[in-house]
C-alpha cells in the first residue's frame, strides 16, 4: 500500500514529525496555566542549579590550581658547587613519593617573580644585577598530602638551606567544597524532582483531555511510539523553555562577576574560569538538564496511560 523506499519513508517521517510538533504546541497553549507553572518550576530549579554550578566550578578550579602549586621548594646553599648540586638532584629523585624534580635557576626564579609583578616590575629591575634569590629544586609529590613527609625528610640533606611547602590550605578548601557540594546536591535534586512532578502532571492533563483520541488511535492500529511522540515533544519543549531564563541569567551574572572580580583575584594569583568557557558550557548543560527534566516528566506520565 505504501512503498517503503528510502525517500518515501523519509518524507513520511517528516510529515509525521510536523504533526507531532503541532499537536504538542496545541496542547501546550490549551493548558496554558499548567504549562506556565511547570515551565516556571523548571526555571527556578535551573536558576539555582546555575548559581550553584557557577560557584562550584570556580571553587574546583581554584582548588585545582592551588593543588597544582603544592610543591616542596628546596632552597640550595649559595656555596653549592655544580657537582654537589647534581649529587643532590640524584638524591632527591630517590626520595619516596617524589614524582618529579625540577631545577629552577636563580635567574629563572627572578624572571618569574618580575613577570608576576606585572607593571610594577620596573622598580625591581635593579635586582637583575645582583640576584638575591637562591637556586631551587622544585619537588612534586604524587599526592598533595605527601608534601609534609617529603619536606621533613629532605630538610636534612647536605647543601639544603631551607625547605618550604603549602600547609593544609588545599585540604581545608576541599573539605569546604565537599560540604557545600553535598548541601547543594540535596537541594537541587529536590527541586528537580518537583519540576519533574509538575511536568508529569501537566502532561497528564493533556492526556486526559485526549483520552478518546488515544483510545481511537490504539483501536485503529497506531503504534505506541506514534501515540507517545507528541507528549515527549511537549515535555521537551517545557523543559527547554524553562532553561531560557537561567541561561540568560548565567550570561549576565557571570559576565558581571567575572569582569569585576577577576582583576582583584589575579593579585592573589587566583584566576576564574574564563567568561566564554563558562557561558557556553553552563548554558549547554542547563538546556540539557531542562530537556531531561521535561522528557522524564512526560514519559513518566505517558507510561501509565499506554498500558491498555
Amino acid at each position: 500500500m505504501c512503498e517503503m523506499n528510502w525517500k518515501g519513508n523519509m518524507v513520511m517521517k517528516l510529515r509525521t514529525m510536523r504533526r507531532h510538533v503541532s499537536e504538542s504546541l496545541k496542547s501546550l497553549t490549551r493548558n496554558g496555566w499548567m504549562t506556565f507553572a511547570s515551565v516556571s518550576a523548571v526555571t527556578v530549579s535551573l536558576i539555582l542549579v546555575a548559581l550553584f554550578l557557577m560557584v562550584m566550578f570556580n571553587l574546583n578550579k581554584i582548588a585545582g590550581d592551588i593543588e597544582k602549586d603544592v610543591e616542596v621548594r628546596v632552597y640550595l646553599d649559595r656555596s653549592t658547587t655544580p657537582a654537589q648540586q647534581n649529587q643532590l638532584e640524584e638524591q632527591l629523585k630517590q626520595v619516596k613519593n617524589v614524582q618529579s624534580v625540577t631545577f629552577q635557576s636563580k635567574k629563572k626564579g627572578l624572571n618569574n617573580l618580575l613577570s608576576s609583578l606585572g607593571s610594577d616590575k620596573g622598580t625591581f629591575e635593579d635586582l637583575q644585577k645582583e640576584n638575591p634569590l637562591p637556586n631551587v629544586f622544585i619537588l612534586k609529590t604524587r599526592q598533595p598530602q605527601q608534601t609534609i613527609m617529603v619536606a621533613n625528610e629532605v630538610r636534612h640533606y647536605p647543601n639544603v638551606q631551607d625547605v618550604r611547602y603549602g600547609k593544609g590550605t588545599v585540604e581545608k578548601m576541599f573539605k569546604f567544597i565537599n560540604i557545600a557540594r553535598n548541601i547543594g546536591i540535596v537541594l537541587i535534586l529536590g527541586l528537580i524532582f518537583t519540576s519533574v512532578f509538575l511536568i508529569a502532571n501537566t502532561i497528564k492533563l493533556t492526556i486526559v483531555a485526549r483520552r478518546r483520541e488515544i483510545e481511537i488511535m490504539k483501536l485503529v492500529g497506531a503504534t505506541n511510539a506514534f501515540v507517545r511522540w507528541p507528549y515527549f515533544i511537549e515535555g521537551l519543549i517545557m523543559g527547554i523553555l524553562g532553561s531560557v531564563l537561567p541561561v540568560l541569567l548565567v550570561i549576565v551574572v557571570y559576565h558581571f562577576a567575572y569582569y569585576s572580580l577577576s582583576s582583584n583575584l589575579s593579585q592573589m594569583f587566583i584566576s576564574l574560569i574564563p567568561f566564554q568557557t563558562m557561558a557556553v558550557n553552563l548554558s549547554l548543560l542547563l538546556v540539557g538538564v531542562g530537556g531531561i527534566i521535561g522528557v522524564w516528566g512526560s514519559l513518566s506520565s505517558v507510561r501509565k496511560f499506554l498500558k491498555v
Partner: protein, 231 residues
C-alpha cells in the same frame, strides 16, 4: 483454509475470578456474516474484545487470518489492529473533527500517504452515503449518520474483518435498517462481519449465521438462525 476467525478451546478468567468464557470452539469463514446473541453477562463483550485483542485469552488459541493472536507480542498488536475494523454502540467519534477529519484520522495515525488518504476517505464516505456531509461535525448529524461515519472509519484501512458491538443499540428501528444496509454492502465486498446484537427484529429478518452465548459457552450455532430470545 478459508477460515478467517478460528477459536480453539478459548477460556477467559478475569482477575476477580469471574469466568467469562468457558471453552469456546468455533470457526468463521472468509466473507461470512455472523450475529452473536445472548443475554447480558453471557460473555458477548468478552468474546468480541478477544477478536480485536483488547483482551487476551487465559487459555486457548485465537487464529485470525492464519495468525494466532493469543501469542502476539505487544509491539505487534498495532499492526494486527490494522486488519480489524471495530464499530461500537457509542460511535466514538472525535467531536472537534469534521466527518472527513474523523475518517482521515484513522489513516493519518498509521502514517498513510496524504494522497491516498484523500482518495480513500472519499471512497468510504461514498460507500456509507455521507459524501455530502464531509464538512459537518458529529453533533450536527443524526445518530444513524454518526454511526455511518464510524463505520466508514472502521473500514477505511480495508480490514478483512469488521467487528460490531451493538451497532444499533442507540438507534431507532428505521435507522438501524440503514446501518444494516451499509453492513450488507461491506459484506458483499468480501469483508467478514461479526456483530454482537440485542436486536431481535434484525436478526430474525436479515438471515445470517447466529451464535448464541450463555454462561460463557456457545449454546447454539445455526446458519440462517433466529434470535431466539424475547425482545
Amino acid at each position: 483454509m478459508d477460515d478467517m476467525i478460528v477459536m480453539q478451546n478459548v477460556w477467559k478468567a478475569y482477575p476477580n475470578g469471574v469466568m467469562a468464557l468457558n471453552g469456546i470452539d468455533l470457526s468463521v469463514k472468509k466473507g461470512e456474516f455472523v450475529y452473536v446473541v445472548g443475554p447480558s453477562g453471557a460473555g458477548k463483550s468478552t468474546f468480541i474484545k478477544m477478536i480485536y485483542r483488547e483482551l487476551k485469552p487465559t487459555r486457548g488459541k485465537i487464529i485470525i487470518d492464519n495468525k494466532n493472536i493469543a501469542s502476539l507480542r505487544e509491539r505487534q498488536v498495532p499492526y494486527f489492529r490494522r486488519k480489524i475494523g471495530v464499530v461500537f454502540q457509542d460511535f466514538k467519534l472525535l467531536p472537534k473533527l469534521t466527518v472527513y477529519e474523523n475518517v482521515a484520522f484513522a489513516l493519518e495515525v498509521i502514517e498513510e500517504r496524504p494522497v491516498y488518504i484523500k482518495k480513500r476517505v472519499m471512497e468510504v464516505l461514498d460507500l456509507v452515503g455521507l459524501k455530502h456531509k464531509l464538512r459537518s461535525f458529529p453533533d450536527q448529524l443524526s445518530g444513524g449518520e454518526q454511526q455511518r461515519v464510524s463505520i466508514a472509519r472502521s473500514i477505511c484501512n480495508r480490514p478483512p474483518v469488521l467487528i460490531a458491538d451493538e451497532p444499533t443499540g442507540n438507534l431507532d428501528p428505521e435507522t438501524s435498517w440503514q446501518i444494516m444496509d451499509v453492513f450488507k454492502r461491506i459484506n458483499l465486498q468480501g469483508t467478514t462481519i461479526v456483530m454482537a446484537t440485542h436486536n431481535k427484529s434484525i436478526v430474525d429478518s436479515i438471515k445470517h449465521r447466529v451464535i448464541a452465548l450463555e454462561g460463557g459457552m456457545i449454546v447454539r450455532d445455526e446458519l440462517e438462525g433466529e434470535y431466539g430470545y424475547e425482545a
